[in-house]
């Protein structure tokens, strides 16, 4: 029987970030899903998907936060917790880095995508995830 390439195991880690970003998930958990040690995992994930697992998880959370800002009336603090982040201060800062505005400004500026077209949720998630911008919380492992 033909075997899968190692990337198939890394994909499980990426899927885990997409499925369970709302939980207090960390890079360790992603590494476990891929069955690799943390250091080896981060290196392989980055080589395979072009960004560190930390950045992938963070941008997934920010993408989901942006969707909640567009589609709900939840408070910014509530949204921060909903997407698995603990500190509202660092959430607001990270959000500002990626989107160039505060969560509150973003909400005011962005009408829901569903007002324009019926697009499957998986497409929304894939295309709306923000491009990461290097930031101290990334420990220098992000793409410049």
């Amino acid at each position: 029987m033909a075997s899968v390439t190692p990337a198939r195991h890394l994909l499980r880690a990426k899927d885990l970030a997409d499925a369970r970003y709302a939980e207090p998930l960390e890079v360790d958990d992603l590494a476990r899903a891929a069955g690799l040690s943390k250091a080896h995992f981060s290196r392989e994930f980055r080589r395979t998907f072009g960004e560190s697992p930390y950045v992938y998880l963070l941008t997934r959370r920010l993408e989901r936060a942006a969707a909640l800002l567009r589609n709900t009336d939840y408070s910014v603090a509530q949204i921060c917790l909903e997407v698995g982040l603990q500190s509202v201060g660092s959430f607001t800062t990270s959000f500002g880095r990626m989107y160039g505005m505060t969560p509150t400004e973003y909400r005011a500026a962005a009408p829901p995508a569903s007002a324009h077209a019926v697009v499957p949720a998986c497409i929304v998630r894939a295309y709306a995830r923000p491009q990461h911008r290097t930031f101290r919380e990334d420990s220098g492992s992000g793409r410049a």
């Binding site: 029987m1 033909a2 075997s3 899968v4 390439t5 190692p6 990337a7 198939r8 890394l10 994909l11 499980r12 990426k14 899927d15 997409d18 499925a19 395979t48 998907f49 569903s114 077209a117 019926v118 499957p120 949720a121 998986c122």
Partner: protein
């Protein structure tokens, strides 16, 4: 014009066949091995009641049909989940989810309410993404 057959790459046809038939409940539409073509195997499946549309479970060929480098790239794309998505519809997304889950299907998203209906997502053994939607609104393409 009509859509007759479309394909997904698979890393192993036997494993894919078991997944698409035993776990998803599809039926074999064609399973033909051609010795004159280096034992190329044309293997297609589709859901019961939908005989005129099928998915080819296509083995990644390798040389000489596909060069080493391209073969490696396709294997890599597939395993990374970027080789495409199959979009399926159903009358009962939550029911199907429970059934597929009990058969050990690797879900990436649980059933959720969307503006267009209820849907969930899972992967085949090769990493291909499959979407299962219970459509509420008339589909707009």
């Amino acid at each position: 014009m009509k859509i007759a057959t479309t394909q997904v790459w698979v890393h192993d046809q036997e494993e894919a066949l078991a997944f698409y038939t035993e776990k998803l409940g599809m039926e074999i539409r064609a399973d033909v091995t051609l010795p004159e073509m280096g034992d190329f195997r044309w293997l297609t499946v589709s859901p019961p009641g939908q005989e005129d549309v099928a998915i080819v479970l296509m083995a990644i060929p390798g040389p000489p049909m596909m060069d080493e480098e391209t073969t490696r790239q396709v294997e890599e794309l597939m395993a990374k989940g970027y080789a495409g998505t199959v979009f399926l519809t159903t009358d009962d997304c939550r029911g199907d989810y429970e059934q597929l889950k009990s058969r050990g299907v690797e879900f990436t998203e649980m059933p959720e309410e969307r503006p267009y209906g209820i849907d969930c997502g899972f992967r085949d053994p090769s990493g291909n993404s499959i979407r299962l939607t219970e459509v509420k609104l008339p589909a707009s393409v």
